[in-house]
Amino acid sequence: MIKKVFEKPLNFLETILFLDFIKGMSITIRHAFTKTITTHYPYEKLTPPKRFRGFFGHKTVNGLEPQPVFDEWVDRMKIEPRPGKSRCVVCYLCKKACPVPDLFEIDGGKLENGKKVVSVFNMNLMLCTFCGLCVDACPVDCLFQSDIHETASFSRKDSILNLEKLEAIGKSWQDRREHEPDRIWIDDDARQALWRENKLNLKRVENA
């Protein structure tokens, strides 16, 4: 069988009739009269996938922790779990996993009853490559990456995430997207209407 690798060069007649010009121009005129595929960014936004590697956050203690791992680590590190606060067990595994030495600043504070809580958790995102190794290392599903990707700020101070910011991001994530099925894009319909080319026919995952 003869396989066609690419188009033959135009012959003389086709060249003087500008057949190559006409082919290209027919393509562009067809595109000119089809609908645009742009998302008007500041006014319209596509929701990033659930696994998007955006800004970091701390999930809070809300009864949905991975068990029995969470209880084991709480016992091991002598942590006082406080509902509505960070799940962090001050194990430093994220700091060990991080390829950048100075990115994390973690410290635990002692309570009167002898137990510990996380008191300092700073992440300097000026140094971060958003590789996600710290998220993989976290044993209690506390540190995670959210869908926040508009990370520009007016000062360098704003790019350091402290414990309050991380908890706020985590709480908002748990409200917005924790119960979402884990799939690449959740707004397939919107994307289908916009681009019409990824004819996805996936089965809907019911509340994974």
């Binding site: 010009f21 121009m25 005129i29 000119a32 089809t34 645009t36 742009t38 008007h40």
Partner: protein, 348 residues
């Protein structure tokens, strides 16, 4: 007609033509951006005004309020003279463009053409050739390698295609037996044929030369944004930078499209059925329908140029000159030979 009335009429014509040309030139930037965007399936400017209708104003304010930087080793006189040399000849071409038939206003018979000189076509091409001075001076005076390379490329193109465009235009001139732009249109109306039907080869050659003279794709190597960072305009800033594309891409395209309309598409005449007559759907407008037809033809040509621009890749400099000297010029000469046989057969 008294000398005072003549003077006033000419002054009005000058003001109207300049205002229309430069105003339209500014707004064609929006047209270009919209066409380019839709060909690439983007919407283009959408924020300033309804669908970006006020975008040229915003651009103008931005360019005017920018700092005017003179490169430290640039030649001050030539650097600024280049802008004038680019803008003035390109606008002067419109002096010989007839926009419509003779009209009767306030008791005066007025031809809507600034000067109906009997060498109008030669004048248009002379001013078109002068435009190369603007480019060459700007490239040399700004003392930058990119600018100089761009200017030299543009000079190379214009030297090649000036010859081609003039020989291509000889065909219609021979058929009309006149060099006056007004008379060429009148000849087409009397002979009841647009010269595009008698001169298809010459028309194609003229369109190619038009693209080359105005620096449009596929002949835009003088600015070649990927390799030359927009060529000769690279050292200019603010409104000085804004004027070069305005002149080269819009005013020159408009002027050469008008000349092309005059030579091949019967100027202001309505739709032509060769050797039978003219069909005018705008007959109810009287003599004003001529202006509508002229605008329609120039608009179609401008959109064609845009369509080509945003479709094709660009040729190399050696390919461009090869096409000019080895293909286009022989074709134009061959066309003159054929025209010499056709011309006596036409009445008028």
């Amino acid at each position: 007609m008294s000398i005072v009335a003549l003077g006033i009429i000419i002054a009005i014509k000058v003001v109207v033509i300049l205002a229309i040309i430069l105003g339209i030139g500014a707004y064609l930037t929006l047209v270009e951006r919209k066409v380019a965007a839709h060909i690439q399936r983007r919407p283009g400017p959408m924020v300033v005004g309804w669908h970006g209708l006020l975008q040229p104003l915003a651009d103008g304010i931005k360019l005017l309020t920018k700092e005017d930087i003179l490169p430290s080793s640039a030649n001050f006189l030539l650097y600024n003279l280049a802008i004038v040399m680019a803008l003035v000849p390109a606008s002067l071409v419109f002096a010989v463009v007839p926009f419509g038939p003779e009209i009767h206003v306030f008791g005066y018979d007025i031809k809507p053409i600034l000067t109906d000189v009997n060498i109008g076509i030669i004048m248009a091409f002379a001013f078109g050739s002068l435009a190369v001075y603007g480019v060459a001076l700007s490239g040399w005076a700004s003392n930058s390698k990119y600018a100089l390379i761009g200017a030299l490329r543009k000079a190379g193109i214009i030297i090649s295609y000036e010859v081609v465009i003039t020989f291509a235009a000889l065909g219609p001139i021979m058929l009309a037996k006149s060099l006056s732009t007004y008379d060429i249109v009148m000849a087409q109306i009397h002979q009841k044929v647009w010269y595009i039907f008698l001169q298809p080869i010459s028309f194609v050659v003229f369109v190619f030369a038009l693209l080359a003279e105005t620096g449009r794709v596929p002949f835009d190597i003088q600015e070649a944004e990927a390799e030359l960072v927009t060529g000769f305009t690279v050292e200019y800033g603010g409104m000085k930078f804004g004027l070069f594309p305005l002149v080269e891409w819009y005013v020159e395209v408009l002027s050469l499209s008008s000349i092309l309309t005059v030579l091949y598409l019967g100027g202001w005449s309505p739709i032509n059925i060769p050797f039978v007559g003219f069909v005018d759907p705008f007959f109810f407008l009287g003599p004003w329908s001529g202006f509508i037809w002229f605008i329609i033809k120039v608009t179609i040509l401008f959109l064609l140029v845009l369509w080509l621009h945003w479709t094709l890749p660009r040729y190399r400099i050696d390919q461009i000159t090869t096409i000019a000297w080895k293909v286009m010029l022989p074709l134009a000469l061959f066309n003159i030979l054929i025209t010499a046989f056709i011309a006596p057969l036409l009445r008028g």
